[in-house]
C-alpha cells in the first residue's frame, strides 16, 4: 500500500468538510441569506437609485459596499469553528489519530471553507453584475478587478478566522470573538485612525477598502483631511498596492501561525 500524499489527504478532508456543510445545511442557510440580501438590494436599487445619473462603476459600487460584510459572514459561517470544534466537540479523537499531518487537515478544511464562501460571493457578484448590466448596459473591466480583490480579501479574512479557530477550544467562543473582532474591533481601529491621523495599515478591514476604491475613477487620494470646529478628521483611502499587500500579509501570517498552532496543539 502506497502512502497517500499529504496533498491528496488535504483534498479528502476538503471533500468531507464540504459534505458536512451540505448536510448541516450551513451552506443553504448562508445561501438563503445571500439570496435575501441580493433580492433586497435589487429592489432597493430599482426603486430608490436612479441609474441615469450614475456611471456603471458608481452603480455597482452600491452593491459592492455590502460585499465586505458578506465576506466576513461567510468566513465566520464556514471557518469560525472549523478547527476549534475538533477540540471542543471531541471530533479530533476521530480525526487526529489518523496517519495524516495536521497541516493537511487545516488546509483541507480551509479549502472547503473557501470554496463554500466563494459560491456565496460569486452568487452575489452575479446578481450585482446582472443588475448593473440591466441598468447601464455595460460592465467595466474594473468590476473584475474588484471581484478579484474581493476573493483576495476573502482569503485574508478566512485565514485570520482559521487562526482564531486554531487558537480557541470552544466553537462558540471562537465564533463570537472572531465576530467581535471583525464587526467591532477593526471598525473601532479604523475610526480611531481617522481621529488620530495614524494610518491603520495593520487593519484588514482598512485593506478591504480597495474592493470599492478600485471602482472609483479617479482612484481616491490616499489621505484626505477634513477640519472644522476644533476637530480634524483624517480620511484614509488605502492605495491599491498597499491594500493588496495587507491582504496577502494577513493571509500569509495567519496561515503560518494557524499551521503552527494546529501542528503543535495537543488534545488533552
Amino acid at each position: 500500500m502506497d502512502d497517500k500524499s499529504s496533498v491528496a489527504q488535504m483534498f479528502t478532508i476538503a471533500k468531507y468538510q464540504f459534505l458536512n456543510y451540505i448536510r448541516s445545511k450551513r451552506i443553504f442557510i448562508l445561501l438563503a441569506i445571500t439570496v435575501a440580501i441580493s433580492v433586497t438590494y435589487f429592489i432597493v436599487m430599482w426603486k430608490y437609485v436612479n441609474p441615469e445619473y450614475l456611471t456603471s462603476n458608481d452603480y455597482i459600487s452600491r452593491w459592492v459596499s455590502f460585499l465586505s460584510f458578506l465576506i466576513v459572514l461567510a468566513a465566520l459561517f464556514f471557518g469560525g469553528d472549523a478547527i476549534a470544534s475538533e477540540y471542543g466537540k471531541k471530533t479530533g479523537y476521530f480525526l487526529f489519530p489518523n496517519p495524516i499531518k495536521r497541516w493537511s487537515i487545516l488546509w483541507g478544511k480551509f479549502l472547503a471553507s473557501y470554496l463554500a464562501s466563494l459560491i456565496m460571493i460569486l452568487l452575489y457578484w452575479g446578481v450585482a453584475i446582472g443588475d448593473t448590466y440591466m441598468a447601464k448596459k455595460e460592465i467595466s473591466v474594473e468590476v473584475f478587478y474588484s471581484m478579484g480583490l474581493s476573493l483576495l480579501y476573502l482569503m485574508g479574512v478566512l485565514a485570520l478566522t482559521y487562526l482564531f479557530s486554531s487558537f480557541f477550544k470552544n466553537s462558540a467562543i471562537s465564533i463570537t470573538i472572531t465576530a467581535i473582532i471583525y464587526f467591532f474591533v477593526f471598525n473601532i481601529v479604523d475610526s480611531i485612525a481617522m481621529l488620530t491621523g495614524v494610518e491603520p495599515w495593520f487593519s484588514i478591514t482598512y485593506a478591504g477598502g480597495v474592493i470599492e476604491n478600485v471602482l472609483k475613477n479617479p482612484y481616491p487620494s490616499h489621505i484626505q483631511t477634513i477640519g472644522g470646529g476644533g476637530i480634524k478628521i483624517t480620511m484614509f483611502n488605502v492605495p491599491l498596492e498597499m491594500g493588496i499587500e495587507i491582504m496577502v500579509g494577513y493571509f500569509i501570517i495567519s496561515a503560518v501561525i494557524a499551521t503552527l498552532l494546529i501542528t503543535y496543539r495537543e488534545m488533552k
Binding site: M1, K4, K15, Y16, L19, F94, P97, N98
Partner: protein, 305 residues
C-alpha cells in the same frame, strides 16, 4: 509489528503524567494496560496516537517515531481514544469511508466492520442521533474498517450496557485470532483477564508490572476456592481430611472457603473428592482473580481514583 516506548515521559508543569516509560509490545496478542484513574494510561495511548507530544522520549510504532513520522507510524494502526465524537451530520458509512479515504485504502471492510459492532442497520443514519454506546461501537468500527495490524484502544467498553460490553470483548478476542496486536487500556480487571494475554500495570506515571496473565496468575494466585453447596455442610472435618486441603473456613452453612496447597491439579482433585463423597456442589470458584490480587498488592491503597 510492534509498539515501543523509549524513556517516554509527559510532564505538565511539575507534574509527571508519565515518567520514563519503557515498554515494548510485539506480535499478535492483546495486552491490557491497567492502572487507577490518573495513572497515565490515556496519556500513554495519546502519545502513541499523536494526540499529545512527549516531553522526552519516543513513542515508536513499527520502527517509526509517532512524533517525527506520523504517517508511517500510524499507517497500520486503528485507534479508539477516550469517547470520540463524530460529525453529527454524517452517517457511519460516510465516516468510515472518510477514515479509509484519508489512508487511501479500500473501503471493502466498512460493511463488515459495521456488522461486527452491530451498527449495520444504522449505516445510513446521521450520527447525531446516536447514543453514547452506539458512538463507542462506531469508534471501534472506525478502528476496524481501516484493516489495522495494530489496535490501540482506550477503555473500549466505556459507556456500554453489559450486553454491549460482552460483544466488544468477544470482538477483541476474535481479532487476536486474526493476528492483530491489541494494546488496550482498561480499569476492569475481569475484562483484562478475559480478553488479554499480557498485562502492563502503571501507577503514578510509572510502569510497575509487565507480564503474561498466566505468570501473574501463578505469582499472585490465592490458592483458595469458595464452594457453595445445595444443602448445609455437617461434617467439616471430612472435608479437612481431603488431600491438599490446608484449612476450611465456614462462611455460612451452605458456603465455605477452602485453602489448599498446590496448583490446578490439587484444585481439581479436591472438587472430585467432594463430589465422590456425595457433596452436592453448586459452585466452585477461585476466591478472587489473581489479577485483582496483583493489582491490589502493587497499587493497593495508592488508587488515585
Amino acid at each position: 509489528m510492534y509498539i515501543e516506548s523509549v524513556n517516554l515521559s509527559k510532564k505538565y508543569g511539575d507534574f509527571y503524567a508519565l515518567r520514563n516509560l519503557n515498554l515494548k509490545i510485539e506480535g499478535s496478542k492483546c495486552v491490557g494496560y491497567l492502572g487507577p484513574n490518573g495513572a497515565g494510561k490515556t496519556t500513554t495511548l495519546k502519545l502513541f496516537t499523536n494526540l499529545l507530544r512527549p516531553t522526552t522520549g519516543e513513542a515508536i510504532i513499527n520502527g517509526y517515531s509517532v512524533k517525527k513520522e506520523i504517517k508511517k507510524a500510524l499507517k497500520h494502526v486503528g485507534t479508539l481514544i477516550e469517547s470520540p465524537e463524530f460529525y453529527p451530520y454524517l452517517t457511519p458509512m460516510e465516516l468510515l469511508s472518510m477514515a479509509c479515504d484519508i489512508r487511501g485504502i479500500s473501503k471493502k471492510d466498512i460493511k463488515n466492520a459495521l456488522k461486527k459492532v452491530r451498527l449495520y442497520e444504522w449505516r445510513e443514519k446521521k450520527v447525531g442521533k446516536f447514543s453514547k454506546g452506539m458512538k463507542q461501537r462506531l469508534a471501534l468500527a472506525t478502528a476496524l474498517a481501516v484493516n489495522p495490524e495494530i489496535l490501540i484502544l482506550d477503555e473500549p467498553t466505556t459507556g456500554m450496557d453489559p450486553q454491549g460490553m460482552m460483544e466488544i470483548r468477544e470482538i477483541i478476542r476474535d481479532l487476536k485470532k486474526e493476528g492483530i496486536l491489541i494494546f488496550m487500556s482498561s480499569h476492569l480487571l475481569p475484562e483484562v483477564t478475559y480478553v488479554c494475554d499480557e498485562v502492563a500495570m502503571i501507577n503514578r506515571g510509572k510502569l510497575i508490572l509487565y507480564d503474561s496473565i498466566e505468570n501473574v496468575s501463578r505469582k499472585f494466585s490465592t490458592h483458595a476456592v469458595v464452594v457453595e453447596f445445595l444443602s448445609p455442610v455437617e461434617k467439616v472435618e471430612e472435608i479437612e481430611e481431603i488431600k491438599g486441603v490446608r484449612a476450611v473456613n465456614l462462611i455460612s452453612p451452605y458456603k465455605l472457603r477452602l485453602s489448599f496447597s498446590g496448583g490446578a491439579e490439587i484444585q481439581y482433585h479436591i472438587l472430585k473428592e467432594l463430589l465422590e463423597k456425595g457433596y452436592r456442589v453448586v459452585s466452585y470458584q477461585s476466591e478472587s482473580l489473581a489479577l485483582e490480587k496483583a493489582y491490589i498488592k502493587l497499587i493497593g491503597g495508592d488508587n488515585l481514583g
